[in-house]
């Protein structure tokens, strides 16, 4: 039996008593906890405020036509943002989404027009190529352990070069598509919905988000995507095969980029190797404004949808108010900074 206490023992016993009583919360604290609980509320609040503001200052802003026009304008970037969200949820980033999209649209167009491949088959090949581009990114990230930023910076350039090579830097004109491959323009077709004019591209975007919402929130795969993004070491120790999850995320992202490619042909009306040059960064913008943390594992998939719409609302509202285009960029820039600052603030709760 021990009668002379060990110095180690003494020290341990004099440890401070852990205090985990809750302090009274101020309104700011409560807001922080609320936003921590419901991270999508940040973009929702921003969207509502901007709708009100532009409704007051911009004439005709609230017409069904204008609101549906905004949806048409954000359909392609919104779809890309869905792909980007998946990758960012795993604490990665995909700089290649835009280049993949343009390259796939060229592949679909060229195969149909130049090589006489039946259009549905050309589309299937294009979708398959999307999976493969994602597979390449995923392989580099999981097997060679390259950081996603560098990996996709590299593949961005590679896909851009392939895009120029495959297209011969030539645009396939709208008339040619109408005559030979109208199916490629499917997602640009409009339909009326009580005064609103929507395209199938808008529907595609909404469907992609709905499916991802289901997969991320209602399936084991989704929970694992969040866990891998949150803390990969913990996820691995908890028995998750993190590489398989990452691989699947990049492949699904590639596939969604291919869907966006199909949608983009309808939106532009032609197949152009130089279109959507800034869509990479626009997709990241939508994700960040949508409240998905760049550090992974946090945020709702519906946020980026709202984020994309917010950017569309700002652009449309400022244009209708007769403001110079440069202020659209200016506003978007501030939105990004504020969104990231809010994310940092929310994340402080855990420390």
């Amino acid at each position: 039996m021990s009668d002379t206490p060990d110095p180690v023992v003494e020290r341990d016993r004099s440890e401070a008593v852990a205090s985990f009583e809750h302090h009274a919360r101020g309104p700011l604290d409560r807001l922080q906890h609320f936003l921590h609980r419901y991270p999508t509320m940040v973009p929702v609040i921003v969207l509502v405020l901007s709708l009100i503001a532009f409704g007051l200052i911009a004439p005709n802003f609230f017409s069904a036509f204008n609101l549906s026009l905004i949806m048409q304008q954000v359909a392609v970037v919104g779809t890309l943002a869905a792909a980007q969200s998946l990758v960012i949820l795993t604490a990665g980033i995909d700089l290649s989404v835009g280049a993949v999209m343009v390259m796939i649209s060229v592949i679909m167009g060229r195969l149909s027009i130049e090589f006489g491949v039946p259009v549905p088959l050309a589309i299937l090949i294009g979708l398959g190529c999307g999976l493969m581009t994602g597979g390449l990114n995923g392989f580099l990230v999981t097997r060679l352990k390259l950081p996603p930023f560098i990996t996709t910076l590299g593949t961005w350039n590679i896909f851009l070069a392939l895009n120029y090579y495959l297209s011969g830097r030539e645009t396939i004109r709208s008339q040619t598509l109408d005559a030979e491959a109208p199916l490629l323009k499917l997602f640009g077709e409009r339909f009326n919905l009580g005064g609103a004019v929507l395209t199938w591209g808008v529907v595609l975007m909404l469907v992609v988000f709905a499916v991802l919402w289901y997969a991320l929130n209602k399936t084991a795969w989704g929970r694992r995507v969040y866990a891998v993004g949150d803390d990969p070491e913990s996820a691995a120790l908890a028995g998750i095969q993190t590489n398989r999850i990452l691989m699947s995320v990049y492949m699904v992202a590639g596939f969604i980029c291919a869907l966006a490619a199909w949608s983009s042909i309808g939106r532009v009306g032609s197949v152009s190797p130089t279109s959507f040059f800034e869509s990479n960064l626009e997709s990241i913008t939508a994700v960040v404004i949508g409240g998905i943390s760049l550090f992974g594992g946090r945020g709702s998939i519906l946020g980026p949808l709202i984020g994309a719409i917010i950017v569309g609302v700002f652009n449309s509202g400022l244009r209708l108010a007769g403001v110079d285009v440069l202020w659209q960029l200016f506003a978007t820039g501030w939105l990004i900074i504020v969104a990231v600052a809010v994310d940092q603030w929310i994340r402080k709760i855990s420390s």
Partner: protein
């Protein structure tokens, strides 16, 4: 004496020129709390990693229920019923308690939604998680959907232990469970450990905290220089003896110096 549940004989693990395990032995009996103590670098964690499947020993044999086993990964060990609560806890802070408890072994809904669309049975998982936490007296946690990062350190440890206890049918390994906790919270975790043992699940407790070890352990495995130096009964030895054995200042009776 009853047969040991989990044994290891002559485990050797080398990392380059460093020998982390030098013909180490290990025995765990059913229903006991076995503490593993040793100085830093004595090879404790290599021993535990070998048993939990995180590293593969170069030589030696591990037996569970008398049958030789070899674990290629922690998943294999887990399938055999050996659950480990790591010092880092391996919880995903942003996910809910329920999500964390079922991480990697989620329950799907029955029928078409579950089979074809992979829909999770959240109600069932929440119910199970709540049951397990209540059993271990941890239901001061009000909301099973609460993210783990909003819990206190002791509560997080509780969730990790509850996860292991819920699924670890054979053996639970706890790596420094009280290292990051204050006095009050350590108290609760120790009670939790005793509670888990009372369910008949043997526990391997790795700890630096001698009072904690001496309070709950049935036997104390002293690891020194890559092998088992001795197993002592905490009722017959003092804490300072244990520390002296651990550091080589004293040699326990019956061990050749």
């Amino acid at each position: 004496m009853t047969e040991p549940l989990l044994t290891a004989r002559n485990l050797v693990k080398r990392y380059g020129r460093v020998t982390a395990l030098d013909h180490a032995d290990f025995d765990l009996y059913p229903g006991e709390i076995l503490a593993v103590i040793g100085d830093n670098g004595a090879g404790k964690s290599s021993l535990i990693k070998a048993i939990s499947g995180a590293v593969q020993p170069d030589e030696g044999e591990i037996r569970l229920d008398g049958k030789p086993v070899s674990f290629a990964s922690p998943l294999d060990a887990r399938k055999a019923g050996i659950e480990t609560v790591y010092q880092t806890l391996a919880l995903s802070p942003a996910l809910s308690i329920s999500d964390n408890m079922f991480m990697g072994r989620e329950i799907r809904k029955e029928g078409i939604m579950g089979q074809w669309f992979g829909m999770l049975d959240k109600a069932k998982m929440d119910r199970f998680a709540r049951e397990k936490l209540t059993e271990l007296g941890l239901m001061t946690i009000q909301n099973i959907g609460q993210p783990v990062e909003t819990l206190s350190g002791g509560q997080r440890q509780g969730v990790a232990v509850a996860r292991a206890a819920a699924f670890g049918s054979r053996v639970i390994i706890l790596d420094e469970p009280t290292a990051a906790l204050g006095v009050k919270e350590s108290r609760r975790v120790l009670d939790l450990i005793l509670d888990v043992r009372s369910r008949g699940i043997p526990i391997v407790l790795i700890s630096h905290n001698m009072p904690h070890v001496f309070e709950v352990a049935d036997r104390v495995h002293i690891h020194r220089l890559g092998k088992r130096l001795a197993v002592i009964d905490p009722k017959e030895h003092s804490m300072s003896d244990a520390v002296a054995y651990m550091t080589g200042a004293k040699v326990p009776e019956g061990v050749a110096a």
